[in-house]
Symmetry: C2
Amino acid sequence: MSEIRVGLLGLGTIGIGVARILIEQQELISRRLGKQVRLVTAADRILGRDFDLDLISSVRLTDDANDVVTADDVDLVIELIGGYEPARSLVMTAIEHGKHVVTANKALIAKHGEEIFLLAAEKGVAIGFEAAVGGGIPCLKALREGLSANAIESVYGILNGTCNFILTKMENEGADYADVLREAQELGYAEADPTFDVEGIDTAHKLSILAAMAFGSRIRFDEVFTEGISRISAADIEAVSELGYRIKLLGIAKPHGDGSDMKRIEMRVHPTLVPLSAQIAQVSDSYNAVQICGDFVEQTIYIGRGAGERPTASAVIADVMDIARVAPDGVAHLAPPMGFVESERSELETLPVADIECEYYLRFMVQDKPGVIAAITSVLSDHRISLEALSQKERHATQAVPIVMLTHETAEGNLQAAISRITSLTNVEEDVLILRKENFGA
Amino acid sequence: MSEIRVGLLGLGTIGIGVARILIEQQELISRRLGKQVRLVTAADRILGRDFDLDLISSVRLTDDANDVVTADDVDLVIELIGGYEPARSLVMTAIEHGKHVVTANKALIAKHGEEIFLLAAEKGVAIGFEAAVGGGIPCLKALREGLSANAIESVYGILNGTCNFILTKMENEGADYADVLREAQELGYAEADPTFDVEGIDTAHKLSILAAMAFGSRIRFDEVFTEGISRISAADIEAVSELGYRIKLLGIAKPHGDGSDMKRIEMRVHPTLVPLSAQIAQVSDSYNAVQICGDFVEQTIYIGRGAGERPTASAVIADVMDIARVAPDGVAHLAPPMGFVESERSELETLPVADIECEYYLRFMVQDKPGVIAAITSVLSDHRISLEALSQKERHATQAVPIVMLTHETAEGNLQAAISRITSLTNVEEDVLILRKENFGA
């Protein structure tokens, strides 16, 4: 039986998961693939670590990642180091040496994907990155191949398990953000420095990849409008719930202009009010979901584990098997990495933030003095922003109280101008929480 | 730009959808594929019909399907006739003539798939049938390729949109089966003869394909245990709802024995109690869902439109594009149609119905006489069937009243033996409704 020889970069949690799946499923993989996938060499900076896996002790270990990406007996490199560098340099070197690359590194693809794809095409090697978006869920394959006959009309994703875990726990327990974050960190669900997750950057990495694949554009991570979940309070979650919504950190991408006249792409990541009746509202804990609407297929949803050793290993090895099936000389028979023939990918611009149109949830903290609501609503009215709901719960003579509003649709730029005027009003504090709402047909 | 030339069998709803997508998305398909997909000829028995599509009037039309499957200028045949014959003969002839085949015909694949795959392998052509299961949802691709590194632990599917529409409407409106069926027929959601849908046969077709792909076994449609929804009443739906469940017609497949020691496959289709909190319980109306658990990826769920002109056309053309990408001489670079190399597919037996273990919902109609519940529970106890819940709602002196029970797990054979004894008891009517329950971790 022929084989594909794999070199592994990084023996952290995911690396061990990949080694484990290659051992445990060796027979199954061969039965499905008709070839063997053999782990030949692995690199990690911390050698001497006590690995509990037989295979790891029998593969060639090195603490120099360059050995792996240049090795003569490696056909395919799996990059699991994460981050921008040295991952980028190692991947580029691997491609230069004619090796296929599979990676779970969303930051790498979001930031350096375009140069990686170009070099890979030039060298005739394949790039797989299913594990970079949605963890174990084969959502990129669905978008790239399963829905390839559709003009994509929208992509929504719960793409960060840490944030979804935190929001679910805040809602279920009425707990505050800081407490739940601490717990998530203790459980290993959140990093010591949680910024990438909770501030939406990880979601923006993934969304930028999904959007470019959906609309045939270039990956433009830097242009994603991004807000995280760290300012949401238990009180907001409760107020939202009373209005019939739940807060999810969503990545959202939509095309503007119709069909071939498509001109600009909207990309945004922010905590979003979703109706309790929407399917995506039911996706809880650390689960991820990607909802893709195509003009023929209509709505489709893909749900599963968005991270973790075993689900990520599942996606990594699926890519390895797809590549092994066409290797060594059939790479042109794979779907192009971003779902469009390279020369047909376009230079669509990103819709400016000010032009994004949304419905909003606004929470103002005000001194409960006569006329304050009138003053706020008067500014909103000046900006032609109409209200769907308004509630003021408790009244205190001396303390700031929250006023919560749902608006009808307006442009982000218009809203921000109104907010700026409102926060300069007497009796309105500067701390305004702005959330956005999606209706999902409800 | 190179092209793949398509011949179409059947110009019904789906056929028109396929023609439409090929016209409307011509440019998009080329941008994604790097080739053109060109409809060359189409066959339908009812020619002279007034087609509203420009392309249809420019393609070669025939009323003899044999013209299409033998035409020199056709590389790929799309079969949309449905049913066993003449679809089988036409597909076999197309393959004999070296043509790739894409079909939406689940009955054909469930019944004749094995001989079709064998001939296709012999002739070096590809077979695509994504549209046969889950309509527009790319669930076969997910199972075959996206989850290919996993040993599959279970497959659950809401696979028939007609049944899901009927059950959803019965629940939402408290309406009876017959009334909702009539309405579904008037709306075109159900056939004039609804047997294939409502008696679970269509679901069994699809489940048999999913199971064989999941477990590397042969397609054994005839061995699927199949019950439909036609005996469910509004009262059952209400009783089930009070217990915290919802009724869905599920296809269920599980392997028995661990990993490579896998010996038998459980396949069943029946109305199933699912907890309201389960994701699959939220899949309503004519939507389909496939839930696949793999040993590495854990639970994944795929939701979308299970039928209809446009979603089905989406799946058909995705298959065409996958094949066009490798054609003419790279068919070996496609994943094998059933997800395992042909020689590695096994002859696993189907678990006998009597050995299936379930929890049950039982509804007995009884004369409300002293001792009747004691007599029933005594028989159940004889068979070591323990109860999780029991309820008797109303009491009538003269009329039969329903008694509803939830049992703990027991084997189907044991349950049937107990039921047989119970229905021979005085004061118990023969009409017992047996539903099965799945807990989905709830």
